[in-house]
Amino acid sequence: MSKLKEKYLAIPEQIRIVTVLFAIFLIMFIFGRRLFIPKTFGEYGHYRAAAVDDIMQIGLVYAGHQACAECHDDVVAEKSQHMHKHVACENCHGPGYAHTQAPDEHPLTIPTDRSYCVLCHSYNPARPTGFPQIDPVTHNPDGACIDCHQPHAPQPPEVPEECGSCHERIVRTLGAGHHNSLPCTQCHDIKQEHKITPRDFLPTVPRTREFCGTCHSTKASSAKEIRRVDIVTHGENYFCGQCHFPHNPEVKI
């Protein structure tokens, strides 16, 4: 015992003090680390692993499209056959997780207002070509959309009958432009056989400047509102379709 004490006293005093201080610091450091660093920190990486579980525990608001079919299978079956098949029920009727838990206490809403449909269907040049759009100012301004359109089974516009069943994209594009009122046969010569073997009997596509000139030439006898150009000098020797897109002409009156 006295030998150990002798050895201890043999160490210079300043080193003894520093060693004790260092030991105290080390104990405090280990204790502090345990106190301040959360239990699961560093389990999988430089983060608190329990946080992942916390985030997983957050409650649902939207139930998801599968949940609706459990009770409303008739509506879901009808919707799946029509244009709105990819529009989730909760998109129009609002978040429905609470409704799936207690249907009577949390009824969902039915938007009957005109302002709701136009969120998607009002004309906007940034919308993709072919998406069905209307101008809400001129398109039956007084009526609610659901008076004519059944939202679970919406019908595409009917303007050129028959053609639209295959050329749906062109028909929907036409709807946004001034050529909407023209029948397809105004410009295309379509044989009856085209409907049976389409590729063997292709419809004609106008390829002459004179064809467009029958309506748009300064000398044409068409309605006055139609935009006119001098068919001889306008656009040099290009065909009209090389600059203008006839299914949705970009030149507005």
């Binding site: 983060y47 998801g64 990819h86 998109n91």
Partner: protein, 254 residues
């Protein structure tokens, strides 16, 4: 001595025969153990990504609304986990980008008349869940991190609200929640996807402009999307390796 040896051999074979049925059970036991693990959610088995088809976006803002509902994002403008930008590239002058209220109420008339527009389209934006996230690097406390299934998350209880990550994110995908005083961002709706549901914005998108799924699996919507579209990511030069893939993205989009 000889006799002992034969006895040993016999007992050895006996032991072998005894052990054999038990040994054949081992692979079955391990399958059982695996099946048991699959009942819970195992992050190691997943790697999520999102695809956005710019050609399909109609700018209706339903994804923004769904996101705010699902994730309790403050309703005031300027707080978004996902938002839609409208790009207008006029014939003359600079490209105009606007996002009124993040597009939550749709888009009204543009700043330029229609006949002055050369190209115009909508681009949905969201946290890119980068494989090399700059926001995670700068967090001084380890409150933001990449989970084992590849989703960049924020630990709300641990965030000190210093906003370094908001500065670091090159996509502007983070905001400081004024009520919790912590940083908030898209989690790919982590609480939904771990239950097998889709993120709220994907669920809400009426035109299927957004697709979501596993990138490591070959037969998922996102894998199909990546196989059959020309894919771009935002700001590829920054080498962040985003996991939000864009199809038909215009070169003007930043």
């Amino acid at each position: 001595m000889d006799n002992n040896n034969t006895q040993d051999r016999r007992s050895f074979i006996k032991t072998c025969l005894k052990v054999l049925p038990a040994a054949t059970l081992i692979p079955f036991l391990s399958i059982d153990a695996k099946a048991f693990a699959e009942e819970g959610y195992n992050p190691e088995d997943h790697n999520y990504a999102m695809g956005i088809d710019v050609h399909k976006c109609i700018g209706c803002g339903r994804c923004v609304r769904a996101c705010k509902n699902e994730n309790n994002v403050p309703d005031e403008p300027f707080y978004f986990r996902t938002w839609i930008e409208r790009y207008i590239i006029p014939f003359e002058g600079e490209t105009i980008v606007d996002s009124p209220d993040g597009g939550i109420n749709g888009f009204g008339d543009a700043a330029v008349p229609e006949d002055a527009m050369m190209r115009t389209f909508f681009v949905p934006k969201i946290c890119n869940h980068c494989a090399k996230p700059p926001c995670v690097q700068v967090c001084p406390v380890g409150a933001t991190f990449t989970s084992r299934d590849g989703v960049v998350l924020v630990d709300n209880d641990y965030c000190i609200g210093c906003r370094y990550c908001i500065q670091a994110c090159p996509y502007g995908a983070r905001y400081l929640n004024p009520y919790t005083r912590t940083v908030d961002k898209c989690t790919f709706c982590y609480h939904r996807i771990t239950k097998g549901l889709l993120p709220a914005c994907v669920e809400a998108c009426p035109t299927q402009a957004r697709v979501f799924g596993e990138i490591t699996d070959k037969s998922t919507p996102i894998s199909y999307f990546r196989r059959f579209n020309e894919i771009q990511v935002l700001k590829p030069a920054l080498n962040t390796e985003p996991k939000v893939f864009y199809a038909h993205l215009d070169g003007e989009v930043r």
